[in-house]
């Protein structure tokens, strides 16, 4: 394997890991809020979050590219704060990936939270637990498994990202060239042997992760429910 390929793998894993952490931090309160509110405001928010599921990634990438350009308010702010430009940077990839994979984290968490009965939270409240305590001591342990699902899906989906990254990240080795983009590069230049290697890695990784998730669901699905 070449250094460029190892770099691409390292970059892909780093992007997926950082994105997953950011997704959990952002997605948990969002999913909680959505699970406890009804009406058109939450419905609107839900739609926006779900948008990447149906939009071509290039559409999202196109808008993000415009937003990240050095001339926009965000681009200028970023330049002032960090001293480097946002477009075609690793940070841009993280922001793009978070938006792109948000539904994969928010949706499983939201449906898990919705299944936590209010009754239990009321009981916790009467026992002296303030809302944050209720969340940590009741909601979190009861939905632990959904966090694993959400994190796995967010991670895997980020690894599989292509269109958005190509639009906003370009193809800079060691900075924004992730596996999927490197693969595209090989194919473009007719280096099929190298392309096979990367594609194979991706297939094995994705299959292993999905197998892990499905087997767990199946095993626990058969468990006698209380």
């Amino acid at each position: 394997m070449t250094t460029a390929e190892l770099d691409a793998i390292r970059l892909t894993l780093a992007l997926a890991a950082i994105t997953t952490i950011a997704l959990l931090i952002l997605g948990t309160p969002l999913a909680w809020w959505l699970s406890r509110h009804r009406g058109s405001v939450p419905a609107m928010l839900e739609s926006v979050i779900a948008l990447p599921l149906i939009l071509p990634p290039t559409v999202l990438g196109f808008y993000l590219l415009l937003l990240f350009a050095p001339g926009t308010w965000l681009g200028r702010l970023w330049l002032q704060l960090t001293g480097s430009q946002l477009a075609f940077s690793f940070s841009a990839l993280v922001i793009g990936s978070v938006i792109y994979s948000l539904p994969f984290v928010v949706q499983p968490l939201q449906s898990a939270f919705a299944r936590v009965p209010d009754d239990l939270l009321q009981a916790a409240a009467t026992l002296g637990a303030a809302p944050r305590d209720q969340f940590l001591s009741v909601v979190l342990p009861l939905t632990r498994r959904s966090f694993i699902t959400a994190a796995s899906l967010g991670f895997a989906h980020t690894v599989g990202e292509f269109g958005v990254i190509l639009m906003i990240g370009g193809n800079i080795p060691g900075e924004t060239q992730v596996l999927s983009v490197a693969l595209y590069d090989y194919v473009e230049s007719l280096q099929f042997e190298q392309a096979h290697r990367l594609a194979g890695i991706m297939v094995v990784f994705s299959l292993a992760l999905l197998f892990f998730l499905y087997r767990r669901d199946r095993r626990d699905g058969w468990r006698v429910q209380p």
Binding site: D119, L120, Q122, A124, L127, G128, A129, P141, P226
Partner: protein, 380 residues
């Protein structure tokens, strides 16, 4: 809290709150802060809504007032959240945390009780309830390791009661805690609750629509109907009055307090001493010398001028007629004094006229055996 209110007693309630089923709970009353107060009424009368308002789980209209002793939980300006109220709440469905064992459920309450304690006069006793003592009192020892899913309804409810007590509450709310239990389990829980009420000096508000539970437990009664207070007062007194909604009920009954005298194993009966008279009832579990309440339905009491002889009825007590209720066109309700206690009798208007009943008459009350023999089957 303000100096003015520092001597306040009782639980003051002035609130209006929309319930789930279309009625509006509207009440303005003061309940005692000692003993067990039963909140009694048909389903949909606002009982659970009332408890939720007191616990802070439901927010009544802004100008409502909820004050317990010298602590205001809600008034025009403030709304103390439930986790700061120090109210124990036992729900109808127990609501144990499914991811914790019974013991961990208890520890959950214990771990949070210190943060809650804001001190204050009279708080010492409630705060002193300790886990070991409760586990023994409610016989939880063998259950501690189990997850809630593995417990029966009655066991869950006992754990829930212990859990509610371990947060060192100033007031305990119980919302039909026995409603989902079978007869044996509910009898057992009832006995536990009576014991707790005796041993802990903790005011309780007990919601029920089962008159038998209420008659056994309550010191004080709050009658709710469609969100409004029908009546309230001392339990024994309220039950023997003829002018309450309770007395118009088909199940109207007086409650008397009697002492277990001895057990007659041969006939499967127990002998009670009631105002110097003897009362035979179905075999009871209490030891001789213990006092217990008996609920005597008005429809099971008849009267005669002479003491009947050779009757199959075992319980014939000399009484004095104190009051004749209005009743309906066919029947009237009588209030009969037996020493310092009262019995109720529902008889036909025709009999009342033929016997020429006058207040002050000395009569004999016959209590149908079924009433006392099957007393606890009355439950359902």
């Amino acid at each position: 809290m303000s100096g003015l209110a520092s001597s306040a007693k009782g639980l003051a309630l002035r609130l209006s709150c929309a319930g789930d089923r279309g009625f509006v709970l509207r009440l303005d009353c003061e309940l005692p802060d000692r003993g067990i107060t039963a909140v009694y009424g048909a389903s949909g009368s606002g009982k659970s809504t009332l408890l939720d308002c007191i616990a802070g789980l439901r927010r009544p209209a802004g100008d409502s007032l909820i004050r317990f002793r010298d602590t205001t939980w809600q008034d025009g300006e403030r709304f103390v959240p439930p986790w700061q109220r120090r109210i124990g709440y036992v729900f109808q469905d127990a609501r144990l945390f499914p991811h914790l064992s019974a013991e961990q459920n208890l520890d959950y309450a214990l771990a949070r009780r210190n943060g809650l304690r804001n001190g204050g006069p009279g708080d010492g006793q409630a705060g002193a309830i300790d886990k070991r003592q409760l586990v023994a009192l409610l016989e939880l020892g063998p259950l501690l390791e189990s997850k809630p899913q593995a417990l029966s309804g009655g066991q869950k409810q006992r754990v829930a009661i212990a859990r509610a007590l371990l947060c060192a509450p100033r007031l305990l709310l119980l919302d039909e805690p026995l409603a989902n239990l079978d007869h044996a389990a509910s009898e057992q829980c009832l006995a536990h609750l009576q014991r707790l009420a005796r041993e802990l000096d903790l005011p309780m508000l007990y919601v029920s629509h089962a008159i038998e539970e209420v008659s056994q437990l309550a010191d004080h009664l709050l009658l709710l109907e469609r969100g409004a207070v029908q009546d309230q007062g001392a339990m024994l007194d309220l039950c023997s009055r003829l002018d309450t909604r309770l007395s118009q009920d088909e199940q109207a009954a007086a409650i008397v307090v009697a002492t277990v005298a001895r057990h007659d194993e041969a006939f499967g009966l127990s002998e009670l001493e009631l105002e110097g008279q003897t009362l035979l009832v179905r075999h009871l579990s209490q030891a001789p010398g213990q006092r217990r309440r008996l609920r005597i339905p008005a429809r099971d009491v008849s009267i005669c001028r002479q003491r009947p002889r050779d009757s199959s009825i075992l319980n014939i007590l000399p009484v004095t007629l104190r009051e004749i209720g209005a009743g309906d066109e066919a029947r009237v309700l009588l209030r009969l004094a037996l020493g310092s206690q009262y019995l109720l009798a529902r008889i036909t208007r025709k009999s009342a006229v033929e016997l020429q009943l006058q207040v002050g008459d000395r009569l004999y009350a016959q209590i149908k055996s079924a009433a006392l023999l099957l007393e606890s089957a009355d439950h359902a």
